[in-house]
Assembly symmetry: C3
């Protein structure tokens, strides 16, 4: 007989009764606050067109690289999971069979945040009360698919059910934001904004960079064959994004390196990069210079700047060749900030109208560099634990290593950073629970009063994100 799936009311709280009681108290005051989701990767088309999702496999497995990376690591091939190859070779098309394979190996996720999120989705969104395993695979598949066909499971209905106050997606400057415009023009009240993510036109090593630069010129009406025109194109496109409600930019770079070159040098370098001939060092220098330019534009237009550095993308050559990018093979590398950010901070670090939010996958930078930097520079704020560290232990390390030097008010609340729409409430709930538990620890050993902790709990769950992202 299948085992019961039950979410415990005290999950993620300390086993120490004193801490747990305080955590419960704090959590009660934040669990129903609206969700502010200032950074993520949901598809705006969902909210623009409000079509039903098709089936459990296409919704919950295929787009979630957290899920298929673990299955892949234990010998299940991407083809068996129905991931399409670039060459269009035949891969599994029976979505039920893929779901069964997933169910059979669901035990692999024990101890991972994916399991915490998925179990919450199953129990709270689909109201399922048995654990997922080989035996219950079909029951799950049928139950989820049936519900997905109903009106209550359309994207807008779920958005409202999830109590999302505002959500941000992420788009390239080449995107026309048609879906966002559709949403804005509709009579639906949900707030869905984008973020300006210019990597495809800033990173010379991005696939299709040269033609992207041309297209960037076409859509902005600027002459992107010159560096001046290229900067104007950015300004114009940032204004275009901003006009739709956008409040932030996002930059995913291999390193945190920044630079500010002499005008003649950057103009010469620009000619090399748009010729498609830049070597690795030139590409890095161009990205570095452009981060500083982006900071300068943020000082002018007020868009909050986000930097997500330090990942070796598409590390698995075989998977990249056969299946393309973003297939769960992005691996972090060492990342340093103190020296690398100095050129940008020298130029714009003390400007009053500038917010610069830093993320990392290299936790060694938490106490060594990021907390000291954010505990000093007025522009700097600390993004929440990111990606692999968006997890209970990751959140604990973040608070333990950041708080004493940067305090709470140089952090910006939680980001779900996800394309897995259904997991958004679960992710915010994990963050709220872990923050309440951390505050409860500080109260229990008398580093905070309960009053202070109660104010902080609301700040961490709601106010700080709203304020930092100007929402």
């Amino acid at each position: 007989m299948a085992k019961k799936l039950q979410l415990h009311a005290d999950r993620l709280f300390s086993s120490n009764e004193e801490i747990r009681n305080i955590a419960r108290t704090l959590y009660r005051s934040v669990k129903d606050l609206p969700i502010i989701s200032p950074h993520g990767h949901t598809d705006p088309a969902w909210f623009a067109h409000d079509q039903n999702f098709d089936n459990a496999t296409d919704l919950l497995i295929k787009p979630d690289h957290y899920v298929f990376r673990m299955l892949y690591s234990q010998g299940i091939t991407l083809a068996e999971l129905g991931i399409e190859t670039i060459a269009g070779e035949s891969t599994e098309t029976d979505n039920r069979k893929i779901w069964q394979l997933f169910a059979k190996h669901y035990y692999l996720f024990r101890g991972t945040p994916s399991k915490v999120w998925l179990d919450t989705v199953f129990a709270e969104i689909f109201n399922i009360d048995v654990v997922l395993c080989e035996e219950t695979a079909d029951y799950y598949y049928d139950t989820i698919n049936a519900l997905l066909k109903t009106d209550a499971f359309k994207p807008r209905a779920l958005f409202e059910r999830f109590n999302i106050e505002i959500i941000s997606t992420t788009e390239s400057p080449l995107n026309d934001l048609a879906h966002h415009k559709t949403i804005n023009a509709s009579d639906w009240q949900g707030k869905v904004i984008s973020a300006y993510r210019p990597d495809p036109v800033i990173d010379p090593e991005f696939e299709g960079f040269v033609s992207a630069i041309k297209y960037f010129g076409e859509i902005t009406g600027e002459d992107t064959s010159t560096f001046s025109g290229y900067l104007l194109a950015h300004k114009k496109r940032r204004a275009y994004f901003k006009a739709t409600g956008v409040t932030s930019t996002d930059h995913g770079h291999p390193t945190a390196k920044t630079a500010y070159l002499e005008r003649s040098d950057i103009e010469a370098l620009y000619q090399v990069v748009i010729s498609g001939q830049a070597n690795a060092e030139q590409a890095e220098l161009f990205r570095a210079h452009m981060l500083t330019e982006m900071a300068g534009m943020s000082v002018e237009d007020g868009l909050v700047m986000q930097l997500h550095p330090g990942v070796s993308r598409n590390h698995n050559q075989d998977v990249f060749t056969r299946f393309g990018r973003d297939k769960g093979a992005d691996i972090p590398v060492q990342c340093s900030y103190t020296e690398q950010l100095k050129p940008l901070l020298d130029k714009y670090g003390t400007q009053p109208n500038f917010t610069f939010i830093l993320f990392t996958l290299d936790e060694t930078a938490y106490s060594r560099e990021l907390a000291p930097l954010a505990g000093h520079y007025p522009c700097l704020r600390l993004g929440p634990p990111w990606w692999f560290h968006d997890s209970p232990e990751g959140m604990r390390r973040f608070r333990q290593q950041m708080t004493e030097t940067a305090g709470f008010y140089n952090t910006v609340g939680f980001n779900d950073d996800t394309r897995a729409f259904l997991s958004i409430p679960a992710r915010h709930d994990v963050a709220r629970r872990m923050d309440c538990n951390w505050l409860a620890e500080l109260v229990s050993d008398h580093r905070l009063t309960l009053d202070e902790a109660q104010e902080l709990a609301v700040d961490l769950a709601y106010n700080l994100a709203k304020k930092a992202y100007k929402l």
Copy 2:
């Protein structure tokens, strides 16, 4: 009056009653499981000849660099500890006096795993019930020596008493495995296998490398003056090892760097290294290339590959000059994996018949690189916390930083990695206790169910090691 030595039944379990109760339950189901010891450094001669050990000092102090490094760090000289110099200068020969010196300074080990292991050895193996100190030194020395002379304390009897199902030693390709063959041919049922550790014929900076290469050719009948012959010598010797029951190779390199050179380049480089003229960069490149070759051979012959990188060996010049290598002066350095392993993984990372187990002394790589790598590549598995991190806090950090991204099933159980034979049960016991306590924490805050934890406890203590090492 000497103080009582008492091992508490709940040692290493949380003080929180709820967690402790769960930990006890889990521990009960694993504490008596047989020991799988897939990686270690015991002397196979012990089990081949089954001679009694001589005395407490020669057994427990002199060969244990964990023990004498701490004494040395507080001003006791290696000569006082009877460690022999290369030049044969006179050092202490009175083993009782050395034992007394150790006993007097035993307080230095407070808070270290060495003390946990040694107290367990004293209490459980020698049945001693007073703590070791200056006053009890002679009592200890006499009691231990008397027991060591008995049949019950012969190596094979201890092996059986320790409930060891299988143990692996580590030998150079130049070793003829005579002791293992003796054991295999005997009527004793104990399983003692070796591991193929080719550093002496792969690392151009290893003492005696040039003559080792010649000898490698002689014993294999291959022409090691050419790179082709050298590769054939490896293949033949791996087969020779495998025929005695060996299932793994082991590689201790200064870094995790891998490479795959063009054939003509590696052939030219090989000529340089066997001439003894390789500079540091060439030596590093040769080691890097050979790791990839070893991976290729593992894909062919199925031997599980282990990599232990990131140590500056024999760091103390004075000690190295006077006493030789392996005298407790090996100091870890920063170690990165993401970029360094890419050439090997590009070539063999997705081969189905390949298991590649990674270790580290740089814990910063846990959450940043190793867990993401092992949580993706099908060949990769995570070795347990190694050497300085084979300790309660080290194990806690390993689980806290690895589990959320890599899960449990990309880890391989415990390795004792020791030459201190008597400490083996104590070391496995520490690992089992710490794992049960970690699982109990996950149950107590509802990240795992008790059912799941019970399955995992057995997997971590027994199944995962057996499976990963193909035992």
Copy 3:
């Protein structure tokens, strides 16, 4: 109505009753031990002249870069805090107004050690029983200022009230130690010694280096235009310091790099550096060589050597240009020790009369490099968690990551390292509480006996510092 300020008797102890009870027992035996303060930055003039402090703002805000860095990070300007610019521009001069600004933003310090120290100062030294906030700002300001005018709040009276057995300040070799001599010659019994901090005459990148070298020659009567004369100047000045009671030297370098050059090479390099023409690499090499020379002199004269590496000083260019050095913009960088210290350790690492205390702001070095080094080399000892890590969580990480490899006896107790005189008892109290709590954890899970913990508690709070610094 203002909220109560109450220091809980159990602050910083675990919420687990068993651990807390043990921690209480241990703490009782150390809380009243005299303070040994072997490394700090108080002003010896205070104790020489024993003048009253002027007001709360000048005493508690302006000199404390921990305090104003946090306020600055949230948009308060240094001018508003009354920090003087180099150019003498007008900044806030109304100290009451500055105090009010601080009070209004005191909530920013929630979760930081600054708040723990300050609340302790307010409650225990000034006997204030309401929390600091906008409403209580004036009450605080008036209360503190009134008390500061009394005899009981003169520096010597506070020194005695704080139960300080000995305190060390830090001075440049160019300082004549007049204040220390005044104290020594007085009939006051307080022990105030200096430490020899030669950075201004060792670091070619220190402001005013070239003229400092000339002055160094003048005050020592040695010819500092030659390297030999320069070394003699050091020796003479070290002897001068030592004659006043000094027992240690202190070195704050950008990295831990050491070197030992051939005599002709260092003589040539010296000519470059005293010409003021050294490039960054030459400056680094000179510092590296001089660390080894300093070690050699310590072997001779017995002064304990301290190294504090790994900070990028005055990172904020704008603040540095306008306000000068030491304005809360020092940001740590990655720091490695294993390879960088080898030249020094090769030369002096096994000398019996040598104590070399290492500090770090890069916590990744704790378990990877520092504990293994200190757990081996007889000269090495581990300084306490430093600066940003002088905090409850920082201390916990230090013990968790150092103890298992280095033990307790290769550590040196606590340093307050502060210029905030009034916070000294609070800082030592935090360290004593956190150490007692850590020992209590080890007792509670049976890694230590209570007897052992009691001995260790006194060693960590008092004996180890006294012994390591030869006080």
